[in-house]
């Protein structure tokens, strides 16, 4: 009898977990009858209690969990297989020392766990989403992060005021700050993250590398120290194996970096670098390291508790980056085989154990073309740090950071390589920029590096987040919940064998930035319309969309904070499914009021190289050597676009004749008439004939017929249409009375003008708008603040001379003169805040 009962309970538990996981969503599983649900309600507590007591049951439970996992993750991706045990006491109240998406993410899990939340916010964020979501909110200062989110005193006060028992630091800001961790410890407040000693160990590049070596983790072979002569350099290079990278240890960024492929180049590199080392830095030491060509950036998620247990939760492929920020991530990686995965995972775990790591963490690796992998660094938070956020912190206290980082040298390899890449691609964009505007504004971007804080800009530090939706998707674990449990001192619930790879998850980072400028220069503004693609019709219940965001319609994207809008995640049984869903999700994502990078994201995920998995950290500069230009239309796509624009125009025209209840409108039969329209796209005028019946338009372009049908809801931001039988979602970004239509089609927005044949034939008489003489006018290419103005009225500037520096989102952009001329007038001064397109300087 006992056995039967046990088996029954087992079954109910399967459904029960699915139910709990769905958070009260109507169960789609037909087999779950209401009766069973009733039974479950009474059975669940018993089972739970039993489960806690019986170790044997626990293993059964794990098995059960993974049975249900598949169903569960599929229904709503944000439901986790991990069952939150309400009786497992953690904290009563947690303060989240962060903002935006990550703060919201943490609050969501806290709510599930029945934990009260406290948000902190700056003045600018007073009505932000995380503030509204939290149970309590405390203002910690003005908009500047150094005065609010990095203001330890204010945050400590907030903790005291609200009586929070623990602090979740999120990522960036104070998440890696030892001082903060120490102050929390003094107040006996739990820091939800790794212990101070782990932060310390991993924060120091030399130490981390030594520890990694000791833990038998593959590290990049290299030498750091005084090299006497070229021959010694050649000897070292020979030991490491070509290609090698040589540079001055003290030099930061990509400065002075030489790549040598043979002995001769090594000698040359030695001469160059040692000279520079002595002259520029007064420090003779050189760094010679193996150069990894075409590396992939793959990181392993680890989870460790305070009892010496650690797990690896598979990898994330993060190779698609720009300026060291991840753009598209996926899990698992197409590149890793199970052996490599296990090897990387085991090394990651041994590293975590070696530093007595607890909480969730990320171990970053570079993987070369032979699937050799090298440890890059361990991020003591869950993921790599917010480089930009850190930077600001460093700028605030350059001295302290300098001391702390001291002579950082050993594994700065990746930093250099990638800075080099950044510079390269910025140069590329510079070219583009010049070409586009005919030598108007030469835009040079440079990473904002304060001389004294150079070491802080470490390109291997990636702005990132505490939790990783894609890892959560494929493993079914709620990482935030795990972190909270671990911080409270609970043991891990899982064994390594419990960690599955279920399906495939892709993450697109949606940013408020203009991808046409250096793959993304920040944009600011108010989100006048914002609609996440959450209510997509799922063809299969196993495919789903998750959006982690910290903003809503009406939110402001300001210059003070990270321009990330959301992490858009799609999940499917296979990579194809997830990618297909991602296309759909990107097409259905409505963002108005700020420029966004949806066009770039959508191009990446359909690019043949990405689809086939042939990617590296150089993907973007290689695929778009002249900068990103948006989607290039094929002839067929162009026809579709023209037809859609013509149909939309006609639908709007017809609607404007439909007056309700007005008897004085003469009814002109408009049906079945063939209209001739001229549609202008990229200066090409296309003549097309359009006729319609009901909601179906037939457009004839160059002898080809295109059928477009749809609802033609002119109020909706989305424009779902069927073009020649294929479903497409377009977005109408602009429609004016004078025939201008801007459509977002395949992610990219296209400007069209639809005119009647008469208007088009007359438009040749219209005077050409004289384009502004851009060579003598310097406008701000982005919103930001003026750091410095190098000229005054009456000065003579040479072509390419720096005129002023604009800083936006921690990036400094040097604005240079496009021609040699006298300065006519200066319209900005240091400290000014400027908008995109604002006039800065006029030349004569």
């Amino acid at each position: 009898l006992g056995l039967v009962w046990y088996r029954d309970t087992f079954q109910y538990l399967v459904h029960g977990i699915a139910l709990i996981g769905r958070e009260g969503n109507t169960p789609q599983n037909a087999s779950v009858t209401s009766k069973k649900r009733d039974v479950l309600v009474s059975a669940a507590p018993t089972v739970m209690a039993l489960y806690r007591r019986s170790a044997a049951f626990q293993s059964v439970f794990h098995a059960v969990k993974h049975v249900c996992l598949k169903q569960n993750c599929a229904v709503r991706i944000c439901s986790y297989s991990t069952v939150i045990d309400q009786n497992e006491k953690t904290f009563d109240k947690i303060l989240i020392a962060n903002r935006g998406e990550i703060a919201c993410r943490v609050i969501k899990t806290c709510k599930k766990m029945g934990i009260k939340t406290v948000a902190v916010h700056s003045d600018a964020d007073a009505s932000a989403v995380h503030v509204k979501m939290a149970d309590e909110a405390v203002c910690v200062g003005p908009a500047l992060t150094s005065k609010s989110y990095l203001n330890m005193d204010a945050i400590m006060d907030a903790i005291k005021l609200t009586g929070a028992q623990a602090v979740h630091p999120g990522y960036g800001f104070l998440s890696e700050n030892k001082e903060f961790a120490r102050r929390l410890a003094l107040e006996k407040v739990t820091f939800i993250g790794p212990d101070t000693h782990a932060i310390q160990a991993m924060g120091d590049k030399i130490e981390s590398k030594l520890i990694a070596k000791a833990a038998k983790v593959n590290t990049i072979p290299g030498f750091d120290g005084v090299v006497k002569d070229p021959e010694e350099a050649v000897k070292i290079a020979g030991e490491i194996g070509y290609p090698v990278m040589i540079k001055a240890s003290a030099g930061g960024g990509g400065k002075g970096m030489r790549i040598a492929w043979n002995d001769e180049e090594t000698r040359e590199g030695f001469r160059f670098s040692s000279q520079e080392a002595a002259s520029s830095f007064g420090d003779d030491r050189l760094l010679i390291e193996k150069f990894i060509d075409n590396p992939r950036h793959i990181e392993i998620q680890v989870l460790a508790d305070k009892h010496g247990n650690a797990l690896w939760l598979n990898e994330r492929e993060c190779s698609i980056q720009r300026r060291n920020q991840k753009v598209v991530e996926e899990a698992p990686s197409t590149y890793l085989d199970p052996e490599t995965r296990r090897a990387m995972g085991e090394q990651a775990v041994s590293l975590a154990k070696a530093v007595k790591y607890s909480s969730a963490g990320t171990v970053e690796f570079l993987v070369d073309s032979q699937k050799n992998f090298y440890f890059l660094e361990m991020n003591t938070r869950l993921q790599a740090s917010g480089g930009d956020v850190e930077l600001e912190e460093f700028v605030e206290k350059p001295v302290e950071r300098d001391e702390e980082r001291g002579d950082v040298c050993s594994s700065r390899f990746f930093e250099d390589q990638s800075s080099c890449r950044v510079l390269d691609h910025l140069k590329g964009s510079d070219r583009t920029c010049r070409k586009a505007s005919e030598k108007s504004i030469a835009l040079h971007c440079r990473i904002s590096i304060h001389p004294s804080v150079r070491p802080s800009v470490h390109p291997s530090i990636h702005p990132s987040n505490v939790e990783h939706p894609i890892t959560e998707c494929i493993t079914g674990l709620d990482l935030v919940q795990q972190m909270i449990r671990i911080a409270k001192g609970y043991k891990l619930l899982h064994q390594q064998t419990d960690i599955p790879i279920n399906g495939w998850a892709i993450e697109s980072r949606v940013y408020a930035e203009d991808p046409y400028k250096s793959f993304g220069l920040p944009s600011i503004g108010r989100l006048s319309q914002y609609q996440e693609p959450l209510d997509l019709v799922n063809v299969s219940a196993l495919v789903s969309v998750r959006v982690d965001s910290g903003i809503q319609e009406g939110s402001d994207i300001s210059i003070y904070y990270d321009p990330m809008i959301s992490k858009l995640v799609t999940y499917g049984k296979s990579r194809e499914e997830a990618l297909k869903k991602m296309e759909e999700a990107l097409d259905n994502y409505v963002i108005r009021g700020v420029t966004h990078n949806i066009s770039l994201l959508r191009e990446i995920i359909v690019h043949p190289r990405f689809v086939s998995g042939d990617i590296s950290t150089k993907f973007l500069p290689e695929v778009y050597p002249d900068g990103f230009k948006g989607h290039i239309l094929t002839a067929g796509e162009k026809r579709e676009l023209l037809a859609a624009a013509a149909a939309l125009h006609t639908a709007a025209q017809l609607r404007s004749q439909r007056f309700l209840g007005d008897l004085r409108v003469s009814s002109v039969p408009v049906e079945s008439r063939v209209l001739e329209l001229c549609v202008e796209l990229d200066k090409d005028v296309h003549i097309l004939a359009i006729s319609h019946s009901g909601n179906k338009f037939t457009v004839e372009i160059d002898g080809e017929k295109v059928e477009v049908s749809g609802e033609w809801n002119l109020a909706s931001a989305l424009l779902p249409v069927t073009i020649n039988g294929q479903d497409r979602t377009l977005q109408c970004l602009l429609r004016t009375a004078s025939g201008d239509i801007t459509l977002q089609y395949l992610g990219t927005s296209f400007k069209l003008r639809v005119l009647s044949k008469l208007a088009a034939s007359l438009s040749k008489h219209m005077p050409e708008k004289l384009p502004e003489d851009t060579s003598s006018i310097l406008r701000s290419p982005m919103p930001g603040s003026v750091v410095a103005v190098a000229v005054k009225a009456g000065d003579t500037v040479a072509e390419g001379q720096e005129i002023c520096v604009i800083e936006a989102m921690k990036m400094q952009n040097s604005m240079t003169a496009a021609k040699t001329a006298k300065v006519k007038s200066v319209h900005c001064k240091a400290g000014d805040t400027v908008g995109e397109g604002d006039l800065l300087v006029e030349l004569e």
Binding site: S127, R526, L660, G661, V665, S666, S738, L758, L770
Partner: protein, 563 residues
């Protein structure tokens, strides 16, 4: 350069004069006169053959306007011909032309000569449809005598205006005229006056719109000034870099001789001047095509006459749509600005807002939108500009717009965030009292449905002015951020507690007491305090209720607005 353009502008006139002088010179020679007579006789006899032929010939001449050469010149200036404009403005094949055969009656200076007669003279008139709705149109033809106004020209315009009044349909004038027909002298002036009179008579009966698409100078400017809306075209003339349309009483030359000011035609009366500085024009468009297509769009907002209701168009935007963005739009700091247009676009159907005078007195926003398909007039203080205070220009701008809406049955929705009237000598000397009174007068007088939403500040007299409950507001709402008080906390405390300590404490008390919607709400001066995101839903519902509102003011010959 100015002289050159002025000359070129009146090239038609000069040509006409030249021709007539040539004829005058020829009269003494008998032989010439005789041959002329013979030619006339020949014409007569040939035309006698077929009336039909003559009709066709005249029609063809009317359609050709001033001839190919002048049409080409017109096109070169980036301007369309009078007929092309009409064709673009109206629905295809809907134009019904009047008076194609009318010719001028001038006999001086040789104007009676055949080659100086153009069938239809220098204006095209008629009626047609815009999106199926009736409209009367006149379009001045610059290719005929520079579009100058003759007695016949005026008579044609008067005819369509009279009929527009009879049937109740708007009148659109496409102005492109060098001025009076000098050869006709006083007859031309009389023609202007006839038009002015009709403009005045039609005012408030049918909507009148002027689109200035070329020169409009001297007395001619008063016709557009009397109409409800004046739009301009700012297309830059490719040759001389100036706007194609301009309006002024006297041109740059006269200005120079009288006041010794150096000013270009464009600076004096171009689109930019009138839309941003003088407030004479309500909006400017890029070029002829852009202007005409926009005018079609604008026309859809207007009722046909004062007897017709505001039009209702098929609407795809849900009437009960919530606008979550509005809940966070008003900043916490009361000194921080936000964009009133965000609110307007947020609540309007399809985010569509046809702003009137977007570049003039920007501290007040006025324009047309639709709510659940029905045209509404929107007035809102703009906190982004001068804190949204009321000054002379914004009061006049608002008043004129409110009166238009009231005259044509268009409900008025007012968004209030006003810190008061702008202080200072410039304003006082300029007569802010008199001008501010206009806005007050307009709101008080209006009998159309009036809905008011106080989004933030409603201070002092400006609170009363902005369509308050006391001025017969039908529905007055306050957002939770509303502060209805005599003045801001700081100023109030300085007066109440003059010379006393603890100003800060007193200020806090004042804020607690007055810087919220309650003082107004407990007295019933606002009907409800609403969640901003529900504003659209509420207004749509109220408009439906108020659609049958009937209210009239006491009988009077006419009211006496403080002009």
């Amino acid at each position: 350069m100015a002289t050159y353009t002025l000359m070129r502008g009146t090239v038609g006139l000069l040509n006409g004069l030249k021709c007539s002088f040539k004829n005058v010179g020829q009269i003494p020679y008998g032989a010439v006169a005789q041959s002329k007579l013979l030619r006339g006789a020949r014409c007569y006899s040939s035309s006698h053959l077929s009336v039909q032929e003559r009709i066709e010939k005249k029609r063809a001449a009317a359609l050709a306007g001033g001839g190919l050469q002048r049409i080409t010149a017109q096109h070169k200036r980036g301007k369309l011909t009078a007929r092309e404009r009409v064709e673009l403005l109206l629905d295809a094949d809907s134009f019904v032309e009047f008076d194609m055969f009318v010719e001028h009656r001038c006999s001086d200076f040789g104007m009676e000569a055949d080659h100086n007669k153009y069938p239809g003279d220098s204006v095209v008139t008629g009626q047609g449809r815009i999106n199926g709705r009736l409209v009367y149109v006149f379009s001045q033809d610059f290719t005929v005598f520079g579009g100058s106004l003759s007695g016949a020209h005026a008579q044609k315009i008067c005819k369509i205006m009279d009929q527009a009044m009879l049937v109740g349909a708007p009148v659109i004038g496409l102005n492109d005229s060098g001025g009076a027909r000098i050869q006709e002298g006083v007859e031309s002036l009389a023609g202007y006056a006839d038009i002015f009179l009709r403009n005045v008579m039609a005012s408030g009966v049918v909507p009148q719109i002027s689109l200035i698409m070329g020169p409009c100078a001297g007395g001619a400017v008063y016709s557009p000034a009397l109409t409800d809306f004046t739009f301009m075209v700012k297309a830059t003339d490719a040759d001389v870099l100036q706007d194609t349309s301009y309006l002024f009483i006297t041109g740059p030359d006269v200005v120079k001789s009288v006041t010794n000011e150096d000013v270009t035609q464009e600076e004096l009366g171009g689109a930019k001047t009138h839309t941003a500085v003088s407030g004479v024009a309500h909006r400017a468009f890029e070029n002829d095509i852009d202007a005409l297509l926009n005018l079609r769009d604008f026309f859809n907002f207007l009722p046909l006459s004062n007897k017709d209701p505001a039009p209702v168009i098929e609407c795809h935007d849900p009437r009960d749509r919530l606008v979550p963005g509005l809940d966070t739009i008003v900043p916490f700091e009361s000194t921080k600005a936000y964009d009133m247009l965000d609110i307007v676009q947020g609540i309007a159907d399809e985010r569509e807002f046809f702003e009137i005078m977007p570049n003039y007195a920007k501290n007040i926003v006025v324009g047309f939108a639709r709510m659940n398909g029905r045209t509404v007039g929107i007035v809102g203080n703009q906190p982004k500009v001068a804190s949204g205070c009321l000054d002379i220009n914004s009061s006049v701008k608002g008043a004129r717009f409110v009166r238009f809406c009231d005259a044509f049955n268009i409900p008025i929705i007012t968004f209030v965030d006003v810190p008061g009237f702008l202080p200072g000598t410039a304003q006082e000397y300029g007569g802010i009292i008199r001008h501010g009174a206009k806005l007050l007068y307009a709101f008080a007088e209006a009998t159309v449905p009036k809905i008011t939403v106080i989004t933030r500040k409603a201070y002092g007299g400006a609170y009363d002015v902005m369509s308050s409950k006391h001025l017969r507001g039908d529905v007055n709402y306050a957002w939770p951020t509303a502060e209805v008080a005599v003045m801001g906390a700081k100023g109030a405390v300085q007066i109440i507690f003059r010379g006393k300590e603890n100003q800060a404490e007193a200020e806090a008390e004042y804020v607690e007491k007055f810087a919220n919607p309650f003082p107004a709400a407990v007295r019933g001066f606002v009907d409800d305090i609403i969640q901003p995101s529900t504003t659209r839903k509420r207004i749509c519902r109220d408009l439906e209720v108020l659609a049958s509102k009937k209210q009239s003011n006491p009988w009077k010959k006419h009211a006496n607005i403080p002009l």
